[in-house]
């Protein structure tokens, strides 16, 4: 006969340890990113510049401790840390967290661990928007707006089509509509590329589509952060309820969840996160697919536990990838290429490991 008491839930009790580990990983990634790049810093120099603060450029960096830094060098150091590295670190964390969270949300919602945030055509829509803006010779900020708008437009089309079609499986209808509309927008990108001036516009479009954090400014971050956090908030608050969407629609409804409404809220939030991230960073693949998968192996499938692990791991992963992209070669590697190079093998490894343990 089974005992009358439940065994202590080991996963729940391990959760704080796991989160602590992931926070440490994130801090290490931040530290590593601060000192790596075209202008190499020692940990000590980075620490001094951090302590000195952003306003005290060139005047108070470390004179009391008797550092060898001259005022000019201190100023340069402060500029590197406060105006180049930290905004870029913040951008990597935000974009990584956003893509990973959107991926985890889409995966739970579509009941499929192989789903990525591109499933409803956000990336293709954003790519088309950005390509059009580059073709029209618009400034960078307009390219970002066009990318954001294009991403939202593509997903809106998908949702509209899927809700109009009477299909016995609403999820499948949405995925199929996503495939079709994604293809349509991708064809649009190809058309724009054909029309683009091959010496200036075409390289810009190609480079934008590969993704990267090099062009992100503090203004971009200030614009995008409220959108990202505004979209994260409902996902965070609904994190227990989101589990219900991993059941069949019938089961989720029978336990009292308004499936249609919850799904639409989550699609809106995850799309907003993805479109914001893509608008400032271009198309960075694999994070939204691999990170939730890895986080699920560490924290389990339950969304309340999965979400914090996904956020921390997503931020760390993109930050590490970006530090690598900045420092591994003489030129900066496009981040989208690097995440694919790391993400695809990591994904295969996870798949193989899961196959063994199943």
């Amino acid at each position: 006969m089974p005992s009358s008491t439940l065994p202590t839930t080991t996963r729940s009790s391990l959760q704080p340890v796991l989160l602590l580990g992931l926070v440490l990983l994130l801090l290490l990634a931040v530290g590593g990113s601060l000192i790596s790049g075209a202008y190499p810093l020692s940990a000590h120099q980075a620490w001094q510049a951090l302590l000195a603060g952003p306003t005290s450029v060139g005047t108070s960096v470390d004179t009391s401790v008797g550092s060898s830094l001259s005022n000019a060098a201190g100023s340069e150091l402060s500029t590197v840390v406060w105006q180049l590295r930290l905004p870029r670190i913040a951008a990597a964390l935000l974009v990584g967290m956003a893509l990973a969270t959107a991926g985890a949300t889409y995966q739970a919602m579509f009941r499929n661990p192989l789903v990525s945030p591109d499933i409803l055509g956000v990336a293709a829509g954003a790519g088309l928007g950005a390509s059009f803006a580059i073709l029209a010779g618009l400034p960078l900020v307009m390219v970002q707006f066009a990318a954001f708008g294009g991403g939202l437009l593509a997903v809106s089309c998908v949702v509209l089509v899927a809700t109009r079609v009477r299909h016995h499986d609403p999820i499948l209808a949405m995925v199929l509509a996503g495939v079709a509309i994604g293809t349509l927008f991708a064809a649009g990108i190809s058309l724009v590329k054909v029309l683009a001036d091959p010496s200036v516009q075409l390289p810009s479009i190609t480079f934008w589509l590969l993704g990267g954090l090099h062009a992100i400014t503090l203004t971009d971050l200030a614009l995008v952060s409220p959108l990202l956090f505004g979209a994260l908030l409902p996902i965070w608050l609904l994190r227990w309820r989101i589990n219900a969407l991993s059941l069949s629609d019938d089961e989720a409804a029978s336990i009292g969840v308004d499936v249609r409404r919850l799904r639409l809220i989550l699609i809106a939030c995850a799309t907003l996160m993805t479109a914001s991230a893509v608008a400032i960073a271009g198309i960075i693949g694999w994070i939204g697919l691999v990170i939730p998968h890895a986080a699920r192996l560490l924290a389990g499938a339950e969304f309340s536990r999965l979400l914090p692990a996904t956020l921390l791991l997503g931020g760390s992963f993109l930050l590490i990838a970006d530090s690598f992209a900045r420092s591994v070669a003489a030129i900066e590697l496009p981040l989208g290429i690097l995440t694919a190079f790391v993400g695809a093998p990591a994904f295969l490894l996870l798949l193989a490991r899961q196959g063994r343990s199943a």
Binding site: T5, L6, R241, A253, G256
Partner: protein
């Protein structure tokens, strides 16, 4: 009994947008009662259940839950009245059984809440009452089909609904687990729950049903007590040979 039935259907027509599956269905279910639905594959049992649960719109007729028309109930209110155990559901992620059972509590309260201590206690109690407390931490992808089925019944219990609707709850279970589920359903009846289940095994109806319905091609062709289960009636229901049915029943019931 004079009390209001917990679940009632009057002249109900069921089906999909372009196809009527069944009509003129009347049924009533009160607390402490087990109603068992027998019928061949494709007779409309699942469609009937989905309609009663408000998952599929009725094509005609009325459904009442605790005396109120079904349409008056919100999804979350309905979850505190009716719980559903579907047939062989797929779970794409490796939730632990405890997490699966806890999901029965999701709609009890604010949409933003997290599981409370009381929710966890109810889930633990439900797991225990089905004898799967020792599997609480096991992933639902790692346990047997039977154990998964028991977890879904436990989820329905954690939901604290007054009516349990179970679609062939014993179909994927081994003999021991079949008896365990039937025994559990009997004890739930004793606790005052109303139970509506479908099964392909007449001997299960004989074992626990207070009333039995025969559904064939969307029509209720017979309703009554256990005396309904005779080789002749079953032969009509399943378009089978009476002697064959008698032999089959004899073999099962000996």
């Amino acid at each position: 009994m004079s009390t209001t039935p917990l679940l009632a259907a009057h002249a109900l027509a069921i089906g999909h947008p372009r196809r009527t599956v069944g009509e003129s269905i009347n049924l009533q279910l009160a607390g402490g009662e087990v109603l068992c639905l027998l019928g061949p594959n494709g007779s409309g049992k699942t469609t009937l259940f989905r309609t009663l649960l408000g998952l599929l719109p009725a094509r005609d007729g009325q459904i009442e839950v605790a005396g109120q028309p079904l349409a008056r109930w919100s999804r979350s209110q309905l979850a505190s009245k009716l719980a559903y155990v579907p047939q062989n559901p797929a779970l794409p992620f490796a939730f632990s059984l405890e997490e699966v059972v806890l999901m029965g509590r999701i709609a009890h309260g604010s949409p933003f809440r997290q599981p409370s201590r009381q929710d966890r206690a109810l889930a633990a109690e439900a797991l225990h009452s089905l004898g799967i407390a020792h599997l609480a931490e096991r992933a639902c992808t790692e346990v047997s089909g039977g154990e998964r089925q028991l977890a879904l019944i436990a989820r329905a219990l954690a939901q604290q609904a007054e009516v349990l609707i179970l679609d062939e709850p014993t179909s994927s279970l081994d003999f021991g687990n079949q008896l365990r589920v039937l025994d559990c359903l009997s004890s739930l009846r004793a606790r005052g729950l109303a139970i509506l289940l479908s099964t392909h095994q007449p001997e299960h109806a004989l074992r626990i049903a207070d009333r039995i319905l025969f559904l064939k091609q969307g029509q209720l062709i017979a309703s009554g007590g256990r005396e309904l289960i005779t080789p002749a009636a079953l032969a009509r229901l399943y378009d089978s040979d009476e002697a064959l049915i008698a032999a089959g029943l004899g073999m099962h019931m000996r």
